[in-house]
């Protein structure tokens, strides 16, 4: 007798499992983490409690989690709309940087402008900046069939180094003792904040963007075209839907949202353009979009939870004296288990005894 294990494809992915398995995966990841934590002599219960309360357990933690969720949400939505159409936009990071650059340019050029003028102008600049940046891989894809994964990814580096060049060179704050970074924005160019917390208006951008995206996908002709292309490009061609136009428009929207994320970071949090405005938000956004199965509302929720994981991870160091690597391991484990669990949603395991 031998026991064989087989993965069988589910004809229709189970809906209940679609919810239960991620939950189960997180539990499994936490168990895995618990073993590690116990091995370094920490009580996993205490650590998890600290992480949770660090991210969600206080007004401060909660608001900080929201702050972190904003760029993930915006760029996650941008990534998702492109992925919906099978456009693999890996360039959200660069589009975010260019959005931040464009918004900062507006803020620095018009230091005297009142908030009602400068904020919308920065939003527009950020959105357009990201959109134009994303249009480069889009045009190459639409006109020359160049793989957008490569071009959008490579443009990230160009964008990051462009911002670096500016903050080290031409845009360097003349009163900054030669240190990299632009001069701070005028107070009018700062996004309003919620009370004393750092939660800024960008949250509203994110929520409105999710609402709009949901509406576009469900209720407009354009959204219908995006869904058709995403599910069956051949059928789209058959129905006379223009792939070229949609590639350009969807990538512009995708990049625009990432650009808006960059704008809200510099205008809402940093109040200047500097190096490292994004610790890889554009990449994390891809994971967020994927975990949320490209659903706009799920992206709002997932980006909040994901931000919680990042913010809570600080407590491993601050309260528990664990090295930074530990929180990276925990975050990695959660991701690994959730993505691994996806296999079970799509397949089932059959165990059989055989002669």
């Amino acid at each position: 007798m031998k026991l064989t294990l087989r993965l069988e494809r589910r004809l229709t992915p189970s809906r209940a499992l679609g919810f239960l398995i991620p939950v189960f995966s997180i539990v499994l990841a936490l168990c895995f983490g618990a073993v590690l934590l116990a091995a370094v002599g920490k009580n996993p219960g205490v650590v998890y409690q600290k992480m949770f309360s660090g991210a969600f357990g206080s007004r401060f933690g909660l608001t900080e989690t929201v702050v972190k969720a904003i760029p993930l949400m915006l760029s996650g939505l941008g990534v998702a709309v492109a992925f919906r159409m099978l456009l693999w936009n890996i360039g959200a990071e660069g589009q975010l940087q260019i959005g931040a650059f464009a918004a900062a340019g507006v803020a620095l050029a018009f230091p005297q402008a009142p908030a009602v003028v400068i904020i919308p102008a920065m939003m527009l600049a950020g959105f357009l900046g990201g959109a134009l940046w994303a249009s480069i891989p889009a045009a190459l894809k639409a006109k020359l069939q160049v793989n957008e994964i490569i071009t959008s990814l490579m443009l990230n580096y160009v964008a990051i180094y462009w911002v670096e060049y500016l903050v080290y060179g031409p845009w360097r704050n003349p009163k900054g003792y030669g240190f990299p970074g632009t001069a701070p924005f005028s107070p009018a160019a700062e996004l309003p904040r919620l009370g004393t917390s750092r939660v800024h208006l960008g949250l509203l951008f994110g929520l409105v963007a999710a609402l709009c995206l949901y509406f576009i996908l469900r209720r407009t002709k354009w959204g219908y075209e995006i869904r058709v292309i995403g599910e069956n490009p051949t059928a789209a061609r058959y129905a006379g839907i223009s792939l070229t136009r949609n590639i350009l428009m969807v990538m512009a929207l995708s990049g625009g949202l990432a650009g808006l994320a960059g704008m809200s970071e510099v205008s809402g949090i940093i109040h200047a353009l500097q190096r490292g405005i994004s610790p890889g938000y554009g990449y994390t956004a891809i994971i967020v979009a994927w975990l949320a199965k490209l659903n706009p509302w799920a992206i709002v929720v997932v980006s909040f939870l994901f931000a919680g994981l990042l913010v809570g991870g600080d407590q491993l160091q601050i309260s528990m004296g664990l090295p930074a690597a530990m929180s990276n391991i925990l975050q990695g484990a959660v991701l690994f288990f959730i993505l691994g669990g996806e296999i079970l949603v799509r397949n089932r395991i059959s165990l059989t005894w055989e002669k």
Binding site: R10, L11, T12, R219, T220, K221, W222, Y224, R227, V228, E231, N232, T234, A235, R237, Y238, A239, G240, I241, S242, T352, E354, K355
Partner: protein, 512 residues
């Protein structure tokens, strides 16, 4: 003819897929020396049962005996070692390799050490013996579909398969090729092989089999001797109700040319000439059938007319307006509908809902689309109306299309393509893979459109279908029209010759 022990015995086989009971306590047996047809509609469980016998699937329950010995089939390899070989609908051949290489591919024998002449000798002997003419040194891509099928059969014989399963083998053959295949099968049966033949074509069953097992909805309806049954009875067992084979249609009333194709040339996906100067016309209230073996330019023709494939030269006119190389949207706006060959790959979007699929050709214009938005109310009403009018069996407009059966998929597709009141309808293999009941319904719908005055270009591989529905039949061979004949009184022999590449002596332009 029957020996004491059946060569194949499958007892109470049950196989369940999520949501489907594919095989429900099926008993099946076949004897050495007989040709046993496995007959049933699509989804009746024929292929599942045979995939179990060839080791691809594992039954949830049930026993299999081969030559009286109980066996466990864990893989196709196990099945082959027991002498069971299956020829699938889609051939499993390596195109750039030779026939001999394909035949010996996957064998444990160290074939490079073996004298290759010896292999070719053995292949030659097999093909001689059973009339399977094929050159062992030819490369697969050089062979016709019929020859490729022969390679598949030789492959199984080379592995000493004495139980041969063929899954819808005639679907890709010309009538002549089918006849040759039947002769081969009879010879093999006479040699003592067991031949199991999966099909849903009643004529074939009557022509070749010794016994017939009819399946319906995963169960055995009956096993009968061919000599003791009739087409009518078999159809009734298959469908579960009385079926009428005669389609009645009124004679063509005459009318203007709706579609005119003039010297059309186009390339295939591989960039090779697929249409080499095709000219014909289809008129109001007329069905022009296009016969031909698969891959002779049918798909390219349909796509060239509907704007999906550019013409390299030649012209297409719709009611005397030039539509050559317009884009698909412009063409469908002029009331041209298209039932593509690949229903799920092109015609429908499996993961979207029924209503999303039903609006595919109309969402951009009123009443379904208004300004930049979709009018949800109008869409709902439109879809409900179509679903009930075309009797699509589905839980509702919001359920996903991929859950529909083949017949319902085609109803859905036709519902959409007919609802735009087409002037021209291009229908490619509209009944392929459909069961008898669904085929009947599709035929009815096409004839209704004809009655309403639409011009229909019907591309099909089913000669019976073409002859009964069409007013005229054109035969396409390697991108050229070999001839156009009136369907009434057409000789199958003559059409068969044209399908094999013989040009009709006098270029026919009949009834135009």
């Amino acid at each position: 003819m029957t020996s004491a022990v059946p060569s194949v015995q499958m007892l109470v086989i049950t196989k369940r897929f999520p949501g489907v009971l594919a095989n429900d306590h099926i008993d099946f047996s076949a004897n050495a020396g007989e040709i046993h047809a496995l007959l049933g509609e699509n989804g009746a469980g024929k292929s599942t049962l045979m995939n179990i016998l060839s080791g691809l699937y594992h039954p949830d329950q049930g026993d299999i005996h081969i030559h009286g010995r109980r066996v466990a089939l864990r893989s196709p390899r196990d099945a082959i070692s027991l002498g069971i070989g299956m020829v699938h609908q889609h051939f499993m051949l390596v195109e750039p390799h030779t026939v001999a290489e394909n035949v010996t591919l996957g064998l444990d024998e160290p074939r490079f050490l073996l004298n290759s002449g010896q292999i070719e000798q053995k292949i030659a002997a097999l093909s001689e013996k059973y009339g399977l003419k094929v050159d062992p040194e030819a490369r697969i891509w050089q062979l016709s579909v019929g020859e490729q099928q022969r390679v598949e059969i030789i492959k199984m014989l080379y592995r000493n398969a004495d139980i041969l399963i063929l899954d819808e083998p005639t679907a890709v053959l010309t009538p002549q090729e089918a006849r040759e295949l039947f002769a081969t099968l009879k010879r093999m049966a006479a040699e003592g092989h067991t031949i199991i033949f999966i099909t849903h074509k009643l004529d074939e069953v009557m022509a070749i089999s010794d016994r017939i097992t009819v399946l319906r909805k995963g169960r055995v309806v009956s096993t009968v001797f061919t000599s003791a049954t009739s087409k009518q009875e078999l159809a009734r067992m298959m469908v579960g109700r009385e079926v009428f084979f005669q389609v009645t249609k009124s004679p063509w009333r005459g009318g203007q040319a709706v579609l005119r194709v003039e010297a059309a040339r186009a390339l295939s996906d591989k960039g090779l000439p697929a249409l080499k100067g095709v000219s014909f016309a289809v008129h109001e209230g007329e069905i022009l059938g296009v016969a031909g073996v698969a891959g002779n330019g049918q798909r390219e023709l349909a796509e060239a007319i509907t704007g999906l494939r550019p013409l390299t030269s030649g012209e297409v006119y719709l009611c005397d307006r030039r539509i050559t190389n317009q884009n698909p949207r412009q063409i469908l706006d002029q009331k041209v509908s298209h039932i593509p060959e690949d229903r799920l790959g092109m015609g429908l979007i499996p993961n979207l809902s029924l209503s999303d699929n039903l609006i595919l050709k109309g969402y951009f214009a009123p009443p379904l689309g208004r300004g930049p938005f979709l009018d949800q109310k109008a869409i709902d009403a439109h879809c409900r109306e179509l679903i009930s009018r075309f009797e699509v069996m589905a839980p509702g407009p919001d359920s996903s299309v991929k859950l529909l059966s083949g017949g319902n998929l085609q109803r859905l597709l036709l519902a959409r393509e007919i609802s735009c009141c087409p002037r021209l309808m291009v229908a490619v293999h509209p009944t392929r893979g459909l069961d008898v009941g669904a085929t009947e319904a599709v035929h009815k719908m096409l004839l209704e459109q004809r009655e309403e005055g639409a011009a229909i270009l019907l591309i099909s591989e089913d000669l019976d279908e073409l002859l009964s529905l069409s007013d005229r039949v054109a035969v396409l061979y390697e991108g050229e029209i070999m001839g156009i004949v009136p369907a009434q009184g057409a000789q199958v022999e003559e059409i068969g010759l044209m399908m094999a590449g013989t040009k009709r002596a006098r270029p026919a332009e009949v009834a135009a």
